[in-house]
């Protein structure tokens, strides 16, 4: 006998993400799902953002397969931080975020960063309750990445091109990254930064503040 199912496989995750979003909205927190491949500089960007944030009250959820190195780096800036260890899973999902909501002072935050597991593929598929997705790509990863991993570029509101201080030592074509990424996603905002030198950070933080205020 044939039975109609007509269900999206990620429906359960999307439902929990919508519940998380309601809690975030109720607390007045603007939530950013921060994604990139391993080593592109997500935690470094957060460190720079925390140092330059002015009056913005920022909290962080750190997602890693194992370890608490990232949370320890964030703690030094006095920001509330919760570490999630996925124990092998290649991405954060809405349920993992739902489990740690009680550990964060949401009412005292303007912006919450959810730093996803380093992976250029899977995190793009799973909503966690965010207002927007932001991705990083370091210039050392090469200009072929937008077309090899289109989904994350399509899902993100902003692309942070990190490690621009390395440009003199690489053959990367930043123009191609910009052109391909914006063809995939015409509304994509692109920031060129160096978390090592601090270049471009002020512009990113100012934009983040404006986006958080808008919501």
């Amino acid at each position: 006998m044939k039975v109609k199912v007509a269900t999206k496989i990620l429906e359960a995750n999307d439902r929990i993400a919508a519940e998380n979003r309601k809690i975030f909205d109720g607390a007045g927190v603007f939530v950013v799902n921060l994604m990139s491949g391993p080593g592109a500089g997500k935690t470094s960007l957060l460190e720079r953002t925390l140092a330059a944030k002015g009056g913005l009250r920022v909290g962080v959820v750190e997602g890693d397969i194992a370890g608490s190195d990232d949370a320890e780096r964030i703690e030094k800036y006095g920001a509330p931080v919760v570490q999630i260890n996925t124990g092998g899973a290649c991405h954060l999902d809405a349920n993992m975020i739902s489990d740690v909501l009680g550990d964060l002072p949401l009412d005292e935050l303007d912006v919450l960063f959810i730093e996803n597991v380093g992976n250029l593929v899977c995190p793009a598929e799973f909503k966690v309750g965010e207002d927007m997705k932001v991705m990083l790509l370091s210039v050392a990863e090469g200009h072929d990445k937008p077309l090899k991993y289109p989904l994350m570029f399509q899902e993100s509101a902003a692309l942070i091109l990190n490690k621009i201080d390395l440009l003199p030592y690489t053959d990367v074509d930043v123009g191609k990254i910009r052109k391909d990424a914006q063809s995939l996603n015409p509304g994509l905002r692109i920031f060129e930064v160096s978390c090592r030198t601090g270049a471009g950070i002020d512009e990113w933080v100012a934009w983040l503040g404006r986006e958080a205020e808008k919501s």
Binding site: V3, V5, A6, I9, C122, E125, F126, Q154
Partner: protein, 115 residues
């Protein structure tokens, strides 16, 4: 790369529906999988077969229909289907004002059950 999570969700959804309907077991499941969904059919089949053992889907066959990426162009008014996983320009007029309408599916269509 997250085909295991997708397979786990899939098995949970069909098992729940099987229990609710009072059916004995699931014979087969029809899926629609968009080519731009980021899911590899072979990896999903492998994960499904490894994870289905303790569920009502333990003998089920997974049938995957791949859905190509398709779109509608605001510039020329045409509709198109491509073989790639992404579209950079409208393949009909070369313009940039197009909308993707298909290719991201991760949907369970129906299943064959026995009572």
């Amino acid at each position: 790369m997250h085909e295991v999570s997708i397979a786990a969700n899939l098995i949970e959804i069909v098992s729940e529906q099987c229990r609710k309907g009072g059916y004995l077991r699931i014979e087969s499941i029809n899926l629609k999988l968009g080519r731009a969904s980021g899911i590899m059919p072979d990896a999903l089949l492998f994960a499904f077969d490894a994870m289905k053992t303790d569920s009502p889907a333990r003998d089920a066959v997974l049938m995957v229909e791949e859905v190509p990426v398709s779109g509608r162009c605001g510039g020329c008014g045409g509709t198109f289907t491509v073989q790639e996983e992404y579209v950079l320009h409208c393949p009909l007029c070369g313009g940039g004002s197009f909308q993707i309408v298909g290719g991201r599916e991760l949907d369970i269509v129906d299943m064959e059950v026995s009572e």
